[in-house]
């Protein structure tokens, strides 16, 4: 008899995550075992950067101990080995996000990915103006009179590159506002997006509010306007199942260091037919077909956007991180973190003098919560929590316009990952409950 599992039986066979499993997971993360200020470390700053499991640390070490060489050149043994694991890593990441191999471009981080797109789009108009490259560049390029649309909740990384693209090209930057509960005003989005809109760039999940944006509806509005749709997946790719083809976005970016991998590696996804005609952003070695003293012809994607020697060990480590997440199951991770996020918000809402940003308890949010403590500055809140071994982020979380919209300059943010227990959240809540009395407000 053939053993075939239907998705429904699979679901039953895989139980939800619990504290016992998280305690086992924590054994894979050496950094989490330490004491900070005499107290067990409670790490709730994964929204800023995540910690690395041993399998990731070892993957990078193994590369340097056994395979280190420049990729895509040289005929020697190590060069071949290095190229193989580097390109295997690309396939692993492509599978991780539901993309094709050639649509998966290495970057340093999401910020570089977004800058790459914005510069490639202004280069597209320069090329089109001089009759260079593919005929579609004329329609892809951004120029005077065009519109670029972002949202009011964007991280600076998904705002400033578009401000600068508007500046370079004479296009206009507009934004979709949020309501007081931190949701995008979709009625306004429908009004703002029109025939002149060339780019719609938005975050999948807010790094401050915790909201998950309605990607499907936004993509539909973008399609209707004929705009390129750019997804900032920094707070989603590490935490929930992501399939860029199902979402039907044109571009997506995320950073490795927020998903258990080292710093210095990120990913840009782009639809192949667009990537293959877009002009490059950085130029130089490894991305060309032929070069004369006057000009160069470029390889198709992904090499087209990977000038210079690449971040090889980091790519290998990122693939190990993706494997770690896939083995744990991102749907399970997402459910667990949602539970932690709800626990945070419900707990914070019950403490006098606390204002939580974004959706209230009971409404969908990812595993993070940013909040304001009446009468106490976020820096002081963070310092107080640190004295109890609790690591959180304080400041504007690279979202100044969003904070201004909410009438705040700085907030405190706790962000969880698959290695956090409900005890971590409870320790955090207990400490927050003591903040105002410590500062005598």
């Amino acid at each position: 008899m053939a053993l075939v599992s239907t998705p429904a039986t699979l679901e039953r066979a895989v139980p939800a995550m619990d504290n016992a499993e998280v305690l086992r997971i924590r054994n894979d993360f050496p950094v989490l075992g330490q004491l900070v200020n005499g107290q067990p470390l409670v790490y709730l700053d994964s929204g800023a950067t995540s910690q690395n499991p041993l399998s990731v640390i070892e993957a990078e070490q193994e590369f340097y101990e056994q395979r280190n060489a420049a990729v895509h050149r040289g005929a020697h043994y190590l060069a071949v080995e290095a190229t193989e694991v580097f390109e295997d890593a690309r396939q692993t990441i492509a599978d991780f996000i539901g993309a094709d191999y050639a649509e998966t471009v290495w970057t340093s981080n999401a910020t570089e990915g977004l800058n790459l797109i914005s510069y490639a789009l202004s280069n597209a108009s320069l090329w089109a103006a001089q009759g260079r490259g593919d005929g579609r560049l004329k329609e892809l390029g951004v120029g005077p009179g065009d519109q670029i649309v972002v949202t009011e909740m964007e991280h600076h990384a998904n705002l400033i590159p578009w401000q600068e693209l508007a500046f370079r090209t004479g296009a206009t930057l507009r934004y979709i506002p949020i309501d007081d509960a931190g949701a995008l005003r979709m009625d306004r989005a429908a009004e703002i997006l029109g025939q002149k809109t060339k780019v719609l760039a938005f975050t999948h999940a807010s790094n401050v509010l915790g909201t998950i944006n309605p990607v499907q509806e936004l993509v539909a509005l973008g399609r209707r306007a004929g705009a390129l749709v750019v997804l900032d997946a920094c707070q989603s790719a590490p935490h929930l199942p992501l399939n860029v083809k199902e979402l039907d976005v044109d571009f997506a970016v995320f950073s490795g260091h927020k998903m258990l991998a080292p710093t210095g590696i990120g990913v840009l996804y782009g639809k192949q037919d667009i990537l293959d005609v877009l002009p490059p952003f950085l130029t130089g070695g490894s991305m060309i077909t032929t070069v004369t003293m006057d000009r160069a012809e470029y390889l198709p994607a992904p090499q087209r956007f990977e000038a210079g020697t690449q971040r090889i060990s980091q790519a290998v480590a990122l693939a190990a991180a993706a494997n770690y997440l896939t083995e744990t199951g991102l749907d399970r991770v997402h459910r667990w973190e949602s539970e932690l996020g709800q626990r945070m918000v419900a707990g914070l809402e019950s403490i006098p003098g606390i204002r939580v940003l974004g959706p209230t308890a009971g409404h969908e949010r990812i595993g993070l919560a940013a909040f304001h403590v009446d009468g106490v500055h976020a820096h002081d809140v963070g310092q107080f929590l640190d004295s109890r071994g609790i690591a959180v982020r304080v400041g504007h979380h690279c979202a100044q316009p969003l904070h201004r919209r909410l009438g705040l300059t700085a907030t405190t943010r706790a962000s969880a990952y698959l290695y956090n227990t409900t005890d971590d959240v409870d320790a955090f809540l207990e400490a927050v409950a003591g903040v105002r009395s410590y500062f005598r407000v």
């Binding site: 820096h379 002081d380 310092q383 004295s387 304080v394 400041g395 700085a410 410590y438 500062f439 005598r440």
Partner: protein, 149 residues
């Protein structure tokens, strides 16, 4: 080092009283030379705008507006109380001493004879991330002094 050594009572008190706070409500003495400086900490969005009025070689008044953590607000309050009546040279010297203590990572002790209430910020020197908070108004005062003299 305990949190209480960082957040000494004197700092918590000053962060609430905010001596010298309210630029618009405090008129500079007529005939004084004034300088004004706005300083920002881009990391946390803290900011201080501070005005120094100098009359006859002496600091006649320091007033300021700002928003930030208890350390930055208390530091501005302590500074404005401490500086009034000092000669310009004395204030410059005190700013230099304060900076030296704050940047010493706890190696240089603060002398209350020289720094007065500002000696309470000695503990901040051990928290590298908070040194800028304590310094922000002092940097503004230094800049404003240069404009006023």
């Amino acid at each position: 080092m305990s949190l209480d050594q960082l957040y000494q009572q004197i700092i918590l008190d000053h962060s609430k009283v905010r001596h010298g706070s309210g630029l618009a409500g405090i008129a500079a003495p007529a005939g004084a030379f004034t300088g004004q400086s706005r300083q920002l900490n881009p990391v946390c969005g803290d900011e201080v705008t501070l005005r120094v009025a100098v009359e006859g070689g002496k600091v006649a008044q320091i007033s300021w507006d700002g928003e930030g953590c208890s350390i930055s607000m208390a530091s501005a309050s302590v500074l404005s109380e401490l500086a009034e009546g000092m000669t310009v040279d004395e204030l410059r010297a005190v700013i230099g001493t304060f900076r030296e203590v704050l940047r010493s990572r706890g190696k240089v002790h603060a002398d209350p004879e020289i720094l007065g209430d500002a000696a309470a910020f000695e503990g901040v020197a051990r928290y590298a991330a908070r040194v800028k908070c304590a310094m922000i108004s002092w940097v503004a005062a230094e800049d404003a002094l240069n404009q006023a003299t």
